[in-house]
Symmetry: D2
Subunit: 314 residues, 4 copies
Amino acid sequence: MNDDKKLKEHLKNVNQFKISDEYDIVKLINDLKDTGFNAKRLAIACEIYKEMVEDKECIKFFGLAGALVPAGMQGIIHDFIEKDFIDVLVTTGANLTHDLAETLGYHHLQGDVKIDTLDDARLLDEEMNRIYDVFLPNNVYEGIEDFMKELKIPDETMPVSDFLKFLGEQLPDNSNSILKICASKDIPIICPAFTDSGLALQLGFNHQKVNLNHFKDMLKMVDLAWDAKKAGVCVIGGGVPKNFIMQSLQFCPNSASYAIQITMDRPEPGGLSGATLQEAISWGKVNQNAKYSTVISDATIALPLILWYLKKSL
Amino acid sequence: MNDDKKLKEHLKNVNQFKISDEYDIVKLINDLKDTGFNAKRLAIACEIYKEMVEDKECIKFFGLAGALVPAGMQGIIHDFIEKDFIDVLVTTGANLTHDLAETLGYHHLQGDVKIDTLDDARLLDEEMNRIYDVFLPNNVYEGIEDFMKELKIPDETMPVSDFLKFLGEQLPDNSNSILKICASKDIPIICPAFTDSGLALQLGFNHQKVNLNHFKDMLKMVDLAWDAKKAGVCVIGGGVPKNFIMQSLQFCPNSASYAIQITMDRPEPGGLSGATLQEAISWGKVNQNAKYSTVISDATIALPLILWYLKKSL
Amino acid sequence: MNDDKKLKEHLKNVNQFKISDEYDIVKLINDLKDTGFNAKRLAIACEIYKEMVEDKECIKFFGLAGALVPAGMQGIIHDFIEKDFIDVLVTTGANLTHDLAETLGYHHLQGDVKIDTLDDARLLDEEMNRIYDVFLPNNVYEGIEDFMKELKIPDETMPVSDFLKFLGEQLPDNSNSILKICASKDIPIICPAFTDSGLALQLGFNHQKVNLNHFKDMLKMVDLAWDAKKAGVCVIGGGVPKNFIMQSLQFCPNSASYAIQITMDRPEPGGLSGATLQEAISWGKVNQNAKYSTVISDATIALPLILWYLKKSL
Amino acid sequence: MNDDKKLKEHLKNVNQFKISDEYDIVKLINDLKDTGFNAKRLAIACEIYKEMVEDKECIKFFGLAGALVPAGMQGIIHDFIEKDFIDVLVTTGANLTHDLAETLGYHHLQGDVKIDTLDDARLLDEEMNRIYDVFLPNNVYEGIEDFMKELKIPDETMPVSDFLKFLGEQLPDNSNSILKICASKDIPIICPAFTDSGLALQLGFNHQKVNLNHFKDMLKMVDLAWDAKKAGVCVIGGGVPKNFIMQSLQFCPNSASYAIQITMDRPEPGGLSGATLQEAISWGKVNQNAKYSTVISDATIALPLILWYLKKSL
């Protein structure tokens, strides 16, 4: 805001919009843009993402935390990658474990169940692991173990991201698999806390000599940021993926020019997950002239809307 | 959940859905229904609302708290009423004040402004009141005062809801006005904390003898619930509107058969705003066999989606 | 912050404090003051409250929402009043209903119960109403009804606050009762959404002609603010009590000089409950030079600490 | 809860407690135990922690996420370790980086600054990195770099935890240092996402051949859990530390017997950070007969209270 102009010169009427009979996602997002609160922030996030995709110089870092695959978002994330909306994926070991499970033909389960009164001790008896209102049977982990046991690891000290590409290559074709589409398109998957996952446990149990290199991925991320003419970041849910992208962006000559985060975390407790994108400017992670938007929303609602908007408007 | 069946017999695969080229809001909601987390809860809320509208015996109570009109949701709420999706509206004085302002031709303002660094002392100088990222110039209140001053109150001890109907009747035609559409369609507006509003302040300043009756509205609500063959409730944002509907539903012979809440509040701090709908069963507010869903979401995102779904699917 | 000085000139080292063997609440709060996040905000809230009490010209408005009496905070609030830490109490009908119940000798109940798996349908059968992890048996409401039935209302159109004083006078002596201590000390209790309560329901059912005046309380609050040389506000949990105090403070010549809020609500959804105290400056509710602090904390943790600090340090 | 007894047989009166003149932390916690909401949960967490310390067979896993050291909690965490309240520390690279900075004589900064209107672009100019309301000057990272450059790494493929012990041994004596006290007492520090930190960046930049082993730490944690006769867990703030402890506890023969979490995260978005401890029962991470408590609170408020209670009551 220019200090010499009055605030009202920057303002226009709130859009008291209507949902017409011939409505579509692009109209919705355009309408929401001139409203307020998180509706407006979501609309701005959509616009920024679109601009980020259209900016051919921009390297798009995507941070993914939270149990998105169990919640049915595997195909959505797959399509973000297939459509070239992601250049570098930074995620948790858990999402990769869940992606592997689905790709191998196992399934997360859900149904018409009241979780308010579910007895978890009974679920333990039924060998049914709970992820809020989604369930994963124990035998899925046995399937993963069988698969991991058979893997012929080409190099026990390869970078984690190289291993994940190798892993993707071993997988059957699958129209939803994140590991597979990243391997095919050579999109790096960076997983800084890889050992914090069922996938890594099975790898470690069955291949005791592995010491996949985490440091090379750390330096690779710094190089990716360093070499980016422009950088953009979309963060889902905070955690290590957010911090890892942000620490790398400090080495990007111009910091991030575009920044989006979709999260339920908030700034007041001081953790990085909920930190504002504004704060990231002080660190040189986000450029002071960047376009940015934080949407306080469950990603399972916001992410499909963003993809739908991008597919329709690009 | 039937105790004799295993959990897995209640379950099916999580839907790893895709956004096809010919996608629409009904497909989205249908897809989200078999996912997890708040996406699933939103889909279930949509389905319940649809069923509630189709159930001709059901009286639909709608509780509206939060600054929804400033955030551009006036037309959305107007259309919920116009489309007969609401039978009784319980809301805050603030939303009515903001509705009156827009109906009289004033506007809430928004724009490309970074609120992270806005200096509110400067806004005070510019006579610009802030509601998060929406702004309301002081002179709007002067316009409301002029209007209220001229009102000829027919009865100083009339129930608040009768006054609000009278107020709606005095207003010009307007395709977004909540007060106007409720007056035309004879949908009661119940405002239990009416004096907690700019509208009531202007009424009180300019009509010193008014003592609008709050108790008759309280008893009217109990009667409405008492007489309802079936009852449904949709609560946006908690607060007095939620509690007031819920206390009335205790007198509904079958309690609520349908219940939806869209809120960012959570149960752990113990306040009624964030209380689960499950908890309301213990009070006899919600029936133990009711269909219910709580969506943890900003209403500015969820409400337009629900309306869009209802318009397309009904 | 003075724009001509660098930030670091305003800063000093974070206090990496220790809990010594001879520790007390005053040392804790003093130590927390030079830390960060909500610990610091809590310490500043304590200091502001202390200064507010020491400032003899300051009228202290206290807004109380949330089920604080059910959660065991009745004696704490009672002592805030007894110790002259509150000049005007604005609260919900629910807290007064719960206060009345305890004062008449009934009790809220709690115990070693896992609420994660409680079946609320069973509680309904056992006539046990649930407030998160606290329980209120139905028969308490019968006791309230018996009491209310016998009341001889002196004036059916008296202001709500006068009625609440009258009510307090009818109650037996009780070392925890909020209604009683307010009546004895002539501390006004303002309850703008009075009809949104079990207490008002019993009043209305048994005294069909009552039309207690809400508007006179609204104007009384404006007068109290108007006449205040200085004003201070402490808000617990948002809701109508917060908004009602804030709308009145707009008429205070100097706005509030001290402002504290303890809440779990956040600003992003745009509702007044979670709005920052900074935002209130734009409205002229809080003075631009005011001392203020928002603590994101459950009030059941923060409120006893604040009282303990005040009792020890004053 | 035994199904054959009525709920009320499990219940007793809520404790409407008072803060007496001779009050201390043990009385406060004892009083809060019979209240409700987060106050009660905090009291139960204190009791569980005490019991966990008194249980000599119990291995106490402590997960620490969030910027606790910047917020002045370094000495508190140090004393948890010194007093033998922690057997295995699982934390983020950020907390270790901040601990290293303070141990080397640098400081985090704070002061009387309104963060609502801080301009982060100006902080960038002043080379002052912001962590909510705490600040870290850029030159601290230069100091860390100088220190890391000089390190003689004994083994480039040592486990991360061995490296962190080695690092602690190189540090000067310091009454607050977490790295130092863990090294002296041989308490393992497990850091699964070590490369996600300024510390690891400096290590990687200056020692290009390091490939510290993350897998051995993963297996070590499994062994620690496997060998534990009893296990207890206290989690601050979720994230990788929580998940990593939990995945290991699946291999503990009896799962965790005690479990505490202090967090602002909530279960509804489905992420592991906010997941209930109840849910962990379904996975075999927490025993179905475990004592557990989740406190929804900023750790900067809860953690000092817990330490104070433990020091006074043990």
